[in-house]
């Protein structure tokens, strides 16, 4: 599967995650977000940026608690919880936000 934005083709796997993480850019993220029905606000981008930074170092998405804490630090303590993350990404911060951030799909009992 694939999609195209501004003349660039992005390959995806059967679940719609980017096949090649290095191809990720804001265009791709915006397309993926729209496809998921997510309207990207500044807070949404904070999550995406943190996921990408963490992935850069550890080659995997962070545990949800690490993510909520980081978001709490950036956006205010009242937003550092799972509920807020689900408000941003109703499809789940681990799966939907990872998809928009271009990360591979987390596997296992998650």
């Amino acid at each position: 599967m694939a999609f195209e934005v501004n003349g660039v083709t992005y390959e995806t796997d059967e679940d719609g995650y980017l096949a090649n993480i290095d191809q990720w850019n804001e265009d791709a993220a915006k397309w993926l977000a729209e496809d998921e029905g997510v309207d990207m606000s500044e807070s949404h981008w904070e999550v995406v940026n943190f996921l990408r930074e963490y992935y850069e170092e550890y080659r995997i998405a962070p545990m949800i608690r690490i993510l909520t804490k980081a978001i709490g630090k950036k956006l205010g303590k009242e937003k550092g919880n799972t509920k807020y993350l689900y408000e941003l990404y109703p499809g789940g911060p681990a799966k939907q936000a990872c998809k928009i951030a271009g990360l591979p799909k987390p596997t296992g009992c998650v």
């Binding site: 545990m63 689900y86 596997t107 296992g108 009992c109």
Partner: protein
Amino acid sequence: MVDKIETPELTGEIKIPKIEPGATSHYRPNQASEKHNNNLGFPGTRVENWQEKSIEKMDDLLSKYKSLLVYLDSCVRCGSCADKCHYFLGTKDPNNMPVARQELMRKVYRKNFTVGGSLFPVLSGAEDLTEDVMTEWYSYFHQCSQCRRCSVYCPYGIDTAEISMAAREIMDTAGIGQKYCNEILGKVMDVGNNLGLTKPALANTLEFLEEDVEEETGVPVKFPLDQEGADVLLIAPSADFFSTPHIEGFMGYAKVFHEAGISWTVSSYASEFANFGMFIGNYETMQKVATRIKDAARELKVKRVIVGECGHAWRVAYSFWNTLIGPFDFLDKKYKNPTHICEFTLELLDRDAIKVDLTANDNRVVTFHDSCNVSRGSRMGDSSGGQFEIPRKLIKKVCGNFVEMDSETIRELTFCCGGGGGLLTDELIELRVQGALPRAEALHEVMKERGVNTMAMICAICKAQFTKVLPSYGIDMEVVASLHQLVSDAIVLKGKVGV
């Protein structure tokens, strides 16, 4: 996405639906890629002579597992199982009646392995493994969570789980693998866990938890990794390092070890308790996954192995480890190996080795969801029914308000969460939502009538599945809790600031 799914309505009782033939014939999990199949030693893609290979494999399994032969021969179609499957109740598709699911294999068995079936196929309901039959197999053997509820009601004890495991093994042998299970098993072989959590990521996660718990409690609870010579090797499902409410349970284990003063460690090599080798019915894969745990225990020179909250893995550990990777004679014989974390914590509480403050959970009214593989595929502790009593006793020790759900939905009659058996994958989300219907009914009733606000459980799949699907039924995901999360909230840490 969840909001597009047709969610069955809660009616206040678990009803037998009017059948809708073929309602879910289009539900199919994604197929494994060449790489994922090859990782496990299966052909990468469907082999040219797939029918011949499949029948050969069926022959092999029938000679290896007499149980399978008995199950295929002994059904009298009494119908006792027909309305016992959560997927049938939730999807209305008659192929999800266990007898019909079994029939998908039985008809091929009759054609190829019985005299009557080969001579008079029409009279005896025998059929070749055609393309159409294989399509049905792939669809409906991936709509069985191998929970074995039907087998409790079967007068002959026919185990549909074993038939569905055999079917998946046959399909894998023919190069028709399921992506979710096979990809994950490859990750366990490569990295050590289902998630693909590398050692640096695991170390970072554990360090984070140390800081987090200390910040919250003022007590330096340790989360050790690869610590040689620790007393205990703790094997947890890797979801315990990643998701909510799994992590909260994992923090509970750590606090218990801390308070009991028992040294413990996690292994980066064997950082997974789950064993999806069972779901695909492949003995060799199951053995390889389990062997990592034995090797880690030896390497780290621990005295005992304690395992975390994971349902099917407890079946593998309790019922199969001894044959797969035993004996554990290199461990300290004073201890039961493996020990379930619930058994371990309850024993400490019984002899007052750790203290709890029940009032910490006063805000909760708790019910317990029995996980299928713990209930019907294992035992716990020293007496019959321990797998039911130990978790309940533990809950009552840490929380004052406990309520049971309908008696036909608990203990050995428990309903699967709807995501077990290797079906916890996004493309099967409709099946997962519909399969959770019976449990959602029973839970909703005690929430409404008895004020239940927490459903505790001891399985990583159940936790992930319910968190995802209960909101479709209007039930908040925060109702879902790890049993050791309740322990974590109630345990009194010596030196805890402010208590």
